[in-house]
């Protein structure tokens, strides 16, 4: 597999997942804002910006509101942290590798990209939910098509690794917002909904659990496919299957997984902050190592001489 293509597939996986996750987070927060009149809109929006790592370029002292959040985190096509921007970035990557992913998967990405401006216009009329839902559904369609029409070759592995690492990163960010900056943080049920985990969580653990159970579920549940440990396991398996390389990325991912897998029940609450920090840093390191090991193509054009 060409390094350039491997890299594009890796980022394609990440950006589609990011569009999906960001749409879920926005949906849950928007719902919360309307649902609970006591919510401080400005503070909630600030938390949201913090989770997604976006610095709004607003004047000092300006108050953030839901409309601004949607513009910046939903509709902005130039910002790859926004829903639309992530999708554009995904489509750009797919365009360069459209002969490697299946035609159907490419068509799904491309048709969605063409439909986004129209969906945005519609969102101005009927609210942002339809827009966010559209993106979530198209992301699901893409994953489904990739799942059912792509061979399980190296390309598939890179796509899946990208998707899994992005999922780990997004979930860790979401949890940090709650754990680290808890004063204006969203409540646990919003958080679970933003991670698409509210129903599985309830089914697995029932009502009335302690607040930490949500964090535990999002990090440690082995059976829920959007949990951090599940995503890490998937990424680890894919990295193990990839041929070649000194496997330092696999070590990064494996270390994160074992950290969670053998976390002590007693100290879980106090260690949570450390875990989240490790996870976010681990994703960055793993991404760098993957790039170092597999994406080495951009060496400048130069004369090479070799005896053989």
């Amino acid at each position: 597999m060409l390094s350039r293509i491997a890299e594009s597939l890796f980022w394609l996986g990440r950006y589609v997942e990011r569009a999906d996750d960001t749409a879920r987070i926005l949906d849950a927060f928007m719902h919360r804002l309307l649902d609970d009149p006591a919510t401080d809109e400005h503070a909630a929006c600030r938390t949201l910006y913090a989770i997604l790592g976006v610095e709004p370029a607003a004047a000092q002292g300006a108050r953030y509101d839901a409309v601004g959040v949607m513009d910046l985190l939903g509709f902005d096509t130039a910002n790859p942290s926004a829903v639309a921007g992530a999708w554009c970035a995904a489509r750009d990557n797919a365009r360069g590798v459209s002969e490697v992913i299946s035609t159907e998967a490419w068509e799904c990405l491309n048709a969605t990209w063409h439909a986004l401006p129209g969906q945005r216009k519609a969102a101005g009329r009927i609210g942002p939910y339809a827009y966010l839902r559209f993106v979530r559904e198209r992301a699901a369609l893409f994953c489904g098509l990739a799942d059912s029409t792509m061979s399980r070759d190296d390309g598939w592995l890179f796509l899946t690794i990208g998707r899994s690492l992005e999922r780990v990163d997004m979930t860790a960010r979401l949890l940090s917002a709650k754990v680290v900056a808890s004063r204006n943080a969203p409540d646990w049920s919003t958080l679970l909904r933003a991670a698409g985990a509210d129903e599985p969580h309830r089914r697995t653990l029932g009502w009335g659990r302690d607040p930490q159970s949500a964090a535990r579920f999002l990090l440690l549940d082995q059976t829920f496919p959007r949990s951090v440990i599940h995503a890490l396991s998937v990424a680890e398996q894919c990295l193990a299957t990839l041929a070649g390389g000194p496997h330092s990325a696999r070590r990064d991912v494996g270390r994160m997984r074992t950290m969670l897998e053998y976390a002590e029940e007693r100290t879980f609450g106090t260690q949570l902050t450390t875990y989240l920090k490790e996870l976010q840093e681990g994703c960055v390191t793993a991404t760098r190592h993957i790039a170092d090991e597999y994406f080495q193509y951009s060496a400048p054009l130069a004369w090479q001489h070799r005896e053989d």
């Binding site: 060409l2 002969e99 490419w106 597999y294 090479q304």
Partner: protein, 531 residues
């Protein structure tokens, strides 16, 4: 119901569908009858469907920084079996002559000694590259893919307008047009026997593999693209996908010890055949433009060392220069000992002082073309040009007569084309594609029909507001009859009462598949009983 063909006005040019108002030619009878069943609203709906399908698949070209679908007209262009036989033979002959000419120019140079073509004409051509001299292709093929542009004259005769043997493009539209048309108008195909076009990728791959260096048992073939920003990127990706080979960019490749390697996740891998879609000028910064960042430094030396095949070979532009075009009929006689099957359009060379003077006096009646222009760039159609353009042209031509040729204007044939609410005549041309694997030149049955969508316009290039049509070559009664007597099979190809291939397919689908489904349903029921 108003007939969509009611107001169809025949012009002076040859019309592909009608021989006289209301009288369709035999090959078009079925299409005409099928289209008659639609009203304008229905047709508009299908036109939108087509555009949508192209947009979704990314079959677009960049225009003013916007992605636009390449317009596909709803009316197919139909070519009868006998007519196609002529085109097929003519194109094959032309490609063989071009091959022989290139082998000669970059080898023994007999055509100069025998005074068929002046040496200076070839050496001053911008497509001739001294650096390609002495590079011997493994199987003797330089022109693996050729696109020969044909037009139909007022008298209905096909003529060659120009040859494209550098990086001919457009074949993806042929494949996509057919794909979309069968989905949009399934009924249209049921009544015709249209020769399929989906063989193309297989033939191309076979020809590319045949070009590989001899010592390699299982060659690695790649398609080399300038990148996503290129207007034909879709085509590059499609061909790579259909052939099942890698699509690479210059930065994916590098040369070491006169070998071309690609950078993969599993280290470096050798490459043996490169189907390049990059112009000569950019392919190797060591030999050509040093500032090119889309090429591969050293690739030409690797080709010279015989470790890699470049398709089409570097330097093919020596043969499709528009001034060389004027010599092709003589070259066919010289190399093949045959009379040309397809004639050229009457063309004046301007090196002769008298001829130049004649042309300069008659600019308003002629078409002037720069010899190395592509995409319809720089062409001046005398009868349609204003005084200032002609004055400008006169200055340019007299300054550089080698840079221009003059042609008699050809009134390109017209074909019914869907405008907002009905069919109107628009000018069309035809680019058949030929693939040479060293043993045989194969011509894709059909090719790209381009249509000038503006009323009266004669330039069909997509960059100048052109669209395309699905091009149907009707199957003869049998390949044998076609070979024995082409004229006869051409006359009878609209005959009824033949086995409808659509029925045959339906029969196959209903056969074993239906049984399998039944079995599955039975199992499902059993499973339900069990639990």
């Amino acid at each position: 119901m108003a007939d969509v063909f009611d107001e169809y006005a025949l012009g002076a040019a040859w019309d592909e569908m009608f021989s006289a108002p209301g009288a369709p030619r035999p090959a078009y009878r079925a299409v005409r009858a099928a289209l008659d069943r639609f009203d304008p609203g229905e047709l508009r709906l299908r036109a939108d469907q087509v555009a949508r399908a192209f947009t979704d698949r990314g079959v677009t070209f960049a225009f003013d920084g916007e992605e636009r679908p390449f317009p596909l007209d709803l009316v197919p262009r139909v070519i009868a079996a006998g007519e196609w036989d002529l085109i097929d033979r003519g194109v094959r002959q032309r490609v063989l002559a071009l091959e022989a000419f290139l082998a000669d120019v970059y080898g023994p140079a007999n055509c100069f000694h025998d005074r068929i073509v002046p040496r200076s004409v070839v050496l001053t051509g911008s497509g001739f590259h001294r650096a390609a001299h002495g590079i011997e292709p493994t199987n003797g093929v330089r022109v693996h893919v050729a696109g020969i542009d044909l037009v139909r004259d007022v008298d209905g005769r096909f003529r060659v307008l120009e040859d494209n043997v550098r990086v001919p493009s457009g074949v993806s539209y042929v494949l996509e047009n057919r794909r979309i048309m069968t989905r949009t108008f399934p009924g249209l195909f049921a009544e015709q026997r249209v020769r399929p076009v989906d063989d193309y990728p297989v033939r191309l791959l076979k020809a590319l593999r045949a070009a590989s260096p001899r010592a390699v048992a299982d060659p690695t073939v790649v398609v080399l693209t300038p990148g996503v920003a290129n207007s034909a990127y879709f085509e590059h990706a499609l061909l790579a996908r259909l052939m099942g080979v890698q699509l690479v960019e210059g930065r994916d490749l590098f040369c070491v010890g006169n070998r071309v390697m690609m950078r993969t996740t599993a280290g470096e891998e050798p490459v043996h055949v490169i189907y390049r879609r990059i112009d000569d000028d950019f392919i190797d910064p060591l030999h050509f433009r040093p500032e090119s960042v889309i090429g591969v430094p050293g690739i030409l030396n690797a080709a010279r060392a015989g470790t890699v095949a470049i398709a089409n070979a570097v330097g093919c532009g020596a043969a499709d220069d528009k001034l060389i075009y004027t010599y092709i009929p003589e070259l066919i006689r010289y190399y093949l000992g045959e009379e040309p099957v397809l004639e050229n359009v009457e063309t004046h060379r301007l090196e002769d002082a008298e001829r130049l003077e004649f042309v300069l006096d008659h600019l308003a009646d002629l078409v002037l073309k720069p010899v190395d222009g592509a995409g319809g760039k720089g062409i001046v159609i005398g009868p349609a040009a204003d005084e200032r353009t002609l004055d400008n042209l006169r200055v340019q031509v007299s300054k550089n007569p080698r840079g221009w040729i003059a042609q008699r204007p050809v009134a390109l044939s017209t074909s019914p084309t869907f405008t907002a609410d009905r069919f109107a005549p628009r000018h069309i041309d035809l680019r058949p594609f030929a693939v040479n694997d060293g043993e045989r030149v194969w011509v894709l049955p059909g090719g790209l029909t381009r249509v000038a969508l503006r009323e009266g316009a004669l330039i069909v290039n997509s960059s100048q507001g052109g669209g395309s049509k699905d091009t149907w070559v009707l199957a003869g009664e049998s390949a044998h009859a076609e070979a024995v007597n082409p004229a006869q099979s051409a006359g009878s190809d609209a005959a009824d009462g033949q086995l409808d291939p659509a029925d045959a397919v339906a029969g196959r689908l209903a056969g074993p598949g239906a049984d399998g489904l039944q079995q599955q349903q039975q199992q499902q029921q059993q499973a339900q009983k069990d639990c």
